[in-house]
Subunit: 326 residues, 2 copies
């Protein structure tokens, strides 16, 4: 049994707890929380400890899955915790990956542990799709579309507007852009041409709806560069129709082969997810298995999804995989 | 520069020759042929040698790409050639992979070389899609669809019928089956429900078309279990409309997550290929790069696509991939 622990019991932490149920060669032994452990009720029989006590439990855990946020939690938590455990995170600030990698690599090597970073679906499975397809089709163009799905960052940005009680933002690929990409035409697409943004907003009583709508649509970085629609709904509608966290998207590469580039190929990898955190958690648990195995083989340092032979992700044996999945 | 050579100069061999053009860190140094080398005209400046002379050139080649057929060529060629070179093949008789693996593994280990087998798109990229998606969604169902594309085995089977001059068979996924799978309903599908077979046939003058059509449609294994259409065409139409070797397909896995399996997810990997041999060749060259690097690192034995860290497939550095593709 691979002994897993979770640091941070939010949506993603609960997703990992559920994923353990679907991976019978793993068990959840501990949940570490920044809250008072006695106030945290979990869905399994794992122990709940304070996140200050990581070191005390270093011999009880094979891999710690860190479920903090990329902005401020993970840059500190991951290099810190890798001193005591093999760890894995879903750091997703793409621009800062090289710096995070360097920090985790130094700490992981010093401790003789594995520190997996940026594991999930983007970065994660989408990164794999990009690297595989670029290695095969060396002359081509890459496209990534996100959605239809809830962007938590964009939902939060709307919630910070005065007069907004609750909000949910869906990122939606533009069908005609997708069609142009799939046709192999290699279109150059602007931000506005690739995605639209649908906002569902619960306003406070008496709030100025026109002002809220205008503030959303003109918000720089988040909405100003997109065709954005704003729909005001009731709290009941929000609860009934927008409680989930679906997401997904597509990575497409089109490229040319042949002595004279005479043939065109399209490689497409797509995800349609009912629950973004549960899917991300399922990816994390598969790579936690690989972290455990790689560290047992004497490997240490910072690793990403690009460093893992796929055979290490599966609970099945290499012989089984060759006979049944190759 | 990675020095590549080709054994067998047919459609796939020519595809490898073209793929080398698209991979500037590789060069094609030799083509080995069973024919009289003086009669083989190739599209590049590589030397052409007899396939009997592999051993004489063992120090000139980093990886030999074996482009023979799975039925009789590869089971002999791959374990034989791995004595002299790192080799890679696209062995695609799924049921015989474990035996082929064992043969190549013994010979490769004895020689200290790498022998990659079953590299291409199925087996190959589709195998990777199956292993990744099964490792993530452990509770689910797998579906593989092939086409729309030319099946060379089925085309050959038609050509063996008396009165048939030429034939081309397209395998086509049934749209309603695809839709049912993508919906996450996990349908149980029969052979007939998944694919149809479209046959284009040039008959000899005066041949009994009704007999030919009947022989095709009732042919066991190849056509009897499918809804098959037969269209008789002229030689000119065959040349004009059916000269290419397009193919492709989809690997879909749908699965459940959550404490009570409450969420459904769909992972889909799809290929749309203008030229089956050129795409397969492009996959072979990427994995030849990995074979070269792995052997330099002291690794030997039989390997498949499942054993390769994706980072080894790309001509770009790990740092570049982390910064730009993760």
């Amino acid at each position: 049994m691979i002994r897993l622990a979770i640091l941070g019991y939010g949506n993603l932490g609960r997703g990992v707890e559920a994923a353990v149920k679907h991976n019978p060669d793993t068990e959840l032994v501990a949940v570490f929380t920044r809250r008072d452990p006695s106030t945290v009720k979990i869905n399994s029989n794992a122990k709940v400890y304070s996140s200050k006590d990581l070191e005390a439990h270093k011999d009880e855990v094979d891999v710690l899955i860190i479920c903090g946020g990329s902005a401020t939690d993970l840059p500190k938590q991951t290099p810190d915790a890798v001193k005591y455990f093999n760890v894995i995170d879903s750091f997703d600030t793409h621009a800062n990956i090289p710096q995070h990698f360097a920090n985790v690599d130094a700490a992981a090597k010093a401790a003789g542990h594995i520190g997996f970073i940026s594991v999930g679906w983007d970065p994660g499975m989408f990164s794999l799709a990009r690297v595989y397809s670029n290695a095969i089709l060396t002359d081509g163009s890459d496209y990534t579309f996100w959605g239809r799905g809830v962007s938590q960052g964009h939902s939060d940005a709307i919630r910070r507007i005065a007069g907004v009680k609750d909000a949910r933002q869906y990122t939606v690929p533009v069908p005609s852009a997708l069609e142009a990409v799939r046709s192999g035409k290699c279109p150059e697409l602007t931000t506005r041409q690739k995605h639209t943004r649908e906002c569902y907003v619960v306003a406070e009583e008496g709030a100025d709806l026109a002002r809220i709508e205008n503030e959303i649509k003109t918000m720089p970085n988040y909405f100003a560069d997109y065709d954005t629609t704003v729909t005001f709904i009731t709290e009941e509608e929000m609860k009934k129709n927008h409680a989930g966290l679906p997401h997904g998207g597509l990575v497409i590469r089109t490229g040319k082969t042949g002595m004279n580039n005479e043939h065109t190929h399209t490689i497409e990898y797509s995800l349609k997810l009912d629950s973004n955190p549960e899917f991300t958690a399922s990816v994390l648990v598969a790579f936690a298995r690989a972290a455990y195995r790689m560290n047992k083989d004497g490997i240490s340092g910072c690793k990403t999804v690009l460093d893992v032979p796929p055979v290490l992700l599966s609970a099945e044996s290499p012989e089984y995989l060759r006979a049944h999945m190759l």
